[in-house]
């Protein structure tokens, strides 16, 4: 004790060697920086513009996301260049490979879609403000961190950045109690699942002595482990944590409530951007870092995929609320991506990436229409609220029909090729029965998509007589703001064009190979 006190008087011994800080390749993290800078600019701009505006915020958000995409382009060239290839920076914690770059673009696109949808929504609901936009960009930056994570801790950091912002976004609608409930539920359960992930990471660290995925791969490259209980338990816990984010069954219980309660444009973001980030982590950890353990985790993912496919499809059928239907159907779609993950081949990853990319447009379009039909108060989500939309808004009804048919996997839509590639990967990897289950689940979920089209086209509008008496066209009167119209048009065009010529997107997805590059 005295010695310790005595030593306090002494000057601390100065280590002559400086702390070695890792190299930072600023270009490699440029997409992330652009998004964060965009969020900061938003907060700055908000002190200059008047409170009630949304247009400048939307513009800045879209610009930031577009900037992130622009920052990806030179990186993509560098990664695809045979001489240089994928690389990592920040002491191997952040990786830059085709996989992460592809997902960054998907996330940025999802941000643009959500921001454009939010523009009209916030004005309609009287919720104008900078916060949703800033939170959107911050959560996207979390997604980017997850996509680039080459270290389990970085993955966890990204997940938390992403999630905390999304919890607030879910609870954003101040006057709707269900929105508060959704935020609360999402937060409590999300925090719980994060704990699972973190515990899983801790066990992996215990088993391998590192959290860096490059070193984990090297660790397995040596001798086979005799006792790998820690690693198996760690993997299982990480599957729980990441499965929660992508809403895989049985970790899906939050999904219907949160999707139903949250503001509709934010659900579009949850179903696209958040899922993409979750799958980024799932594929990176399971397929790439723990590829050596695929024999152990594949049965686990197989089971989760089957449950996700079947439960998502079957429970969707019994819903009457369109948002809940789409929540369950998004679970079913997550099951499809899991089928691609389960294959654990390059083709499987390609299929999963293609699925995520095309699904982002589908879900943005679908929730775009849901946002519009929700009308003031965001409360018109019964199936009956869609009756006769084809009369009052034929274009919107047509767009929704295409999105729904695409989700059902009808040919000449992007959704069909997405399913086709997944089935290809599964069959090639020998999981034929999983492919069969996936396709049968599609047929089940097709029922709900058709039910919505029945409401759109084959049911008399609720106000048919009143409308005829007043001499106007019957059907729900749904105002379409310009920004939302753009989203719907873009999603529609992408869905059909990719459905006829899938080649370009599929080739980019093929080149987006996940690689764990060691730091130089």
């Amino acid at each position: 004790m005295i010695a310790v006190l005595g030593s306090l008087g002494q000057p601390l011994p100065v280590d002559p060697t400086p702390i070695s800080t890792p190299d930072v390749d600023w270009v490699a993290v440029a997409p992330l920086l652009v998004l964060v800078a965009g969020a900061l600019v938003l907060l700055l701009v908000s002190s200059f513009v008047q409170r009630k505006a949304t247009a400048p915020y939307t513009a800045v958000t879209c610009l930031a996301a577009a900037g992130a995409i622009a920052a990806v382009v030179p990186l993509w060239r560098r990664v695809q260049d045979n001489g240089r290839g994928p690389f990592s920076t920040m002491a191997g914690a952040v990786g830059v490979d085709g996989f992460s770059l592809f997902l960054i673009v998907v996330i940025a696109v999802a941000v643009i879609m959500a921001a454009l949808l939010a523009d009209g929504y916030l004005r309609r609901e009287g919720l104008e403000g900078v916060e949703p936009y800033a939170l959107l960009l911050l959560s996207a930056s979390g997604g980017v961190v997850m996509a680039q994570a080459n270290d389990l801790i970085v993955l966890f950091l990204g997940l938390e950045i992403l999630s905390l912002a999304v919890y607030v976004l879910a609870a954003m609608h101040r006057r709707r109690l269900t929105s508060q409930e959704a935020g609360m539920k999402y937060f409590v359960l999300g925090a719980f699942s994060s704990a699972f992930l973190l515990y899983g990471i801790a066990l992996i660290y215990g088993g391998t002595g590192t959290t860096n995925m490059v070193k984990i791969v090297q660790f397995f490259g040596g001798a086979a482990l005799e006792k790998d209980g820690l690693i198996l338990a760690g993997l299982a816990l990480m599957l729980v944590g990441l499965g929660f984010k992508v809403a895989a069954v049985p970790f899906h219980f939050w999904t219907p409530d949160v999707y139903q309660g949250s503001p509709s444009p934010m659900v579009a973001w949850m179903a696209s951007g958040v899922k993409v980030a979750g799958f980024a982590g799932l594929i990176r950890v399971f397929v790439v870092a723990f590829g050596a353990y695929r024999v152990d985790w594949q049965p686990l993912v197989y089971g989760v995929a089957v449950l996700t496919l079947v439960v998502g499809a079957v429970l969707a059928v019994v819903q009457t609320d369109v948002k809940r239907m789409m929540a369950y159907s998004s679970i079913n779609h997550a099951g499809f991506v899991l089928v691609g993950v389960e294959a654990a081949t390059r083709q499987g990853v390609q299929a999963a990436l293609f699925y995520l990319a095309t699904y982002t447009f589908l879900i943005a379009g679908t929730f775009g229409v849901i946002t519009l039909v929700g009308r003031k108060g965001d409360g018109h989500h019964r199936l009956d609220d869609y009756r006769g939309l084809s009369r009052s808004r034929p274009a919107v009804a047509f767009a929704l029909t295409v999105f729904l048919l695409a989700q059902a996997g009808v040919p000449f839509t992007s959704g069909f090729f997405a399913k086709f590639y997944v089935i290809n990967a599964a069959v090639d990897a020998g999981s034929v029965w999983l492919a069969v289950i996936a396709m049968v689940s599609t047929v089940i979920s097709a029922f709900i998509y058709l039910r919505i089209t029945v409401s759109l086209y084959m049911s008399e509008p609720e106000d048919a007589e009143a409308g005829a008496a007043a001499g106007r066209r019957a059907g729900p009167r749904v105002p379409v703001p310009a920004a939302a119209g753009v989203v719907l048009a873009v999603c529609l065009i992408v869905t059909i064009v990719v459905g006829v010529w899938p080649g370009s997107v599929a080739e980019v997805a093929r080149d987006a190979v996940p690689v764990l590059a060691a730091p130089r």
Binding site: L405, A408, V410, P411, F412, F416, F417, K419, F420, I423, N424, V427, D428, V432, A435, V436, M439, V440, T442, V443, A446, F447, L450, R451, T453, V454, Y457, M458, S459, P502, G503, A506, E507, R510
Partner: protein
């Protein structure tokens, strides 16, 4: 016309263009909609007739072939062609669509109605000309969407239920089919790679380890991987995915049988075969008249055509293995459809159930795997399209005039409308199979063909012919005979427009009944080739009944003599 003109591609694109043209018709000119739609489907019909005229009837292979890469990564191509098996189904589709469009008018929303019909036509033609598994699947599946909207949007009281049932039933089949198709493509690729490697090894052994430069290049070529291919002809002719039908354990199924099962379920639902037929009466009854005509005339044939092309041709061994089951289900369908049709109170539903019986005949003929049976099945597919299409048109006219299809509410119609009754009689007799009309030729050939290989099934099926006479004649009696009551006294006679619409069908009924030879001549070589293919690739031996060789035109015979 230029012989290199991609007529089959045009055949699909013309109706699609028509759909777009219909959508472009301004809202203020609704009267143009039908003209535009009929114009484009008429153009497609003209193209099919041109194909028929230019078809070389001595060539058993595929003609007018176009093969272009579509999704190169997966070996998917726009590979289309027709042979004697698909030729008449293409012509039938081409001719039936304009007739269906002219034969009935929608009561509301004419624009989407005609657009959907044209898209449906493109899909149906696409199915019959596809020579790529993937392309076939895509076309087979896309057909659902227009039909769904046609039934659901313009059908009768219970239309939504019928439309949903139709879509879900058929999609279930397609879902399995997609997995089957993909699995087949991969198995074929793997098997080809294995075969190539084995050949390479063989070559190395033969060259005693030091092959010449050319040989070495060939060996290296063989050892390289093979790209994925969905090409029907490639997969069927190479026949790499074999069956172990000689295995001791009959339940030890190889992949080929599972794949066949996955495909055949889709076709069986479409046909529809007995236990999965329940969507048909609902869909046929609730669909608008044009929808019923197309459903019966064309859509059901997608199933029987698929059985021939993607069952027997693609997986002959498995097809032979499952043939007894399919033939049995077909015969059950014949008897069951006939009995249930007898009990119907609704005239349209009666015709719908008669389809189940007729399609049972086609399946019986197809899986008898004899020249006559298969030709009869194909001819009967065309016949059924013509006569049941005409029946649905006539029933539609009755429903239009009287506002009901209940048999008990109709009475004595032949008094006020004798000509209408005459046309109905003729079409009905064709459906029954009266000699001299087309139905007889088809059913007779099927019976002859299936008697060779499936004697007792044929005996039971023959009873179905008698039952067909029973339910149709009884229905006719109730509807047309007797003294018309007050409601039926003023039943309008068939008018000029209706007469013109129905005339080509009546002409076809008589022509095919009296002189089916031109049709059979064109089917013959392809059918024989298919049976040879089945025999080569399975242990099945088709009983040989000497098939008369097609008579060659005089000058050709002279030329040969001169040589």
């Amino acid at each position: 016309m230029d012989p290199n003109f991609p007529v089959l591609t045009a055949l699909v694109l013309v109706p699609v263009a028509g759909a777009l043209a219909v959508l472009a018709v301004p809202r203020s000119r609704p009267e143009l909609l039908r003209s535009v739609a009929v114009l484009f489907s008429g153009a497609a019909a003209a193209l099919t007739v041109w194909v028929l005229a230019a078809f070389d009837r001595h060539d058993a292979g595929f003609q007018f072939v176009v093969n272009r890469s579509w999704v190169s990564d997966f070996g998917i191509s726009w590979h289309v062609g027709v042979d004697g098996i698909s030729l008449f189904l293409v012509v039938l589709t081409g001719l039936l669509f304009p007739i269906a469009m002219l034969g009935s008018t929608p009561h509301h929303d004419a624009k989407p109605y005609y657009a959907w019909l044209l898209l449906l036509e493109a899909g149906c033609l696409g199915v019959f000309i596809s020579l790529d598994l993937f392309l076939f699947f895509v076309m087979f599946e896309i057909v659902l969407v227009p039909m769904y909207f046609l039934i659901g949007g313009w059908g009768y009281a219970n239309r939504v239920y019928a439309a949903l049932k139709f879509f879900i039933f058929t999609m279930f089949g397609s879902a399995l089919m997609l997995v089957g198709v993909v699995a087949l493509a991969y198995l074929h690729r793997n098997a080809t790679e294995d075969a190539n490697r084995a050949e390479a090894t063989q070559l190395v052994v033969e060259a005693n380890g030091n092959p010449s430069q050319a040989e070495a290049a060939h060996i290296a070529e063989l050892r390289k991987g093979v790209p994925l291919s969905f090409d029907l002809v490639d997969i069927a002719e190479k026949h790499q995915v074999v069956d172990d039908s000689k295995s001791a354990n009959p339940l030890d199924w190889s992949a080929a049988r599972w794949i066949f099962l996955a495909l055949i379920v889709a076709f069986a639902i479409k046909v529809p075969l007995f236990p999965v037929h329940t969507w048909l009466p609902d869909a046929h009854t609730e669909a608008p008249t044009a929808g019923s005509v197309i459903l019966a005339g064309v859509l059901l044939k997608l199933g029987t055509y698929g059985m021939l092309r993607f069952g027997l041709y693609l997986l002959p061994d498995a097809a032979v293995f499952f043939a007894p089951v399919l033939v049995t289900l077909g015969v059950i369908g014949i008897i069951y459809g006939a009995i249930v049709a007898t009990m119907q109170k609704d005239l349209k539903r009666l015709v719908a159930y008669s389809s189940v019986a007729h399609l049972g005949f086609i399946v019986l003929g197809t899986f008898a795997i004899t020249t006559q049976g298969m030709q009869g099945g194909l001819l009967q597919a065309v016949n059924h399209g013509v006569s049941t299409g005409a029946l649905f048109l006539l029933v539609g006219m009755i429903a239009e005039r009287r506002g009901t299809r209940e048999i008990s509410l109709l009475k004595g119609l032949q008094k006020p409308a004798p000509l209408f009754a005459a046309v109905f009689t003729l079409v009905m007799m064709s459906s029954i199979g009266l000699p001299g009309l087309n139905g007889f030729v088809g059913e007779f050939l099927i019976m002859v063909g299936s008697f060779l290989t499936r004697r007792w099934w044929t005996v039971v099926a023959a009873a179905g012919v008698i039952l067909a006479a029973l339910y149709l004649l009884w229905a006719y009696q109730r509807v047309f005979h007797g003294e018309p009551d007050e409601d039926n006294r003023h039943f309008p006679e068939i008018n000029w427009r209706e007469g013109l619409v129905i005339a080509p069908l009546v002409a076809a009924i008589v022509f095919l009944g009296v002189f089916p030879k031109p049709v059979l001549d064109r089917m013959g070589p392809s059918v024989d080739k298919l049976i040879d293919h089945v025999e080569q690739n399975s242990d099945f031996v088709s009983p040989k009944v000497k098939h008369p060789a097609p008579v060659k035109p005089a000058e050709e015979a002279q030329q040969e003599a001169g040589e």
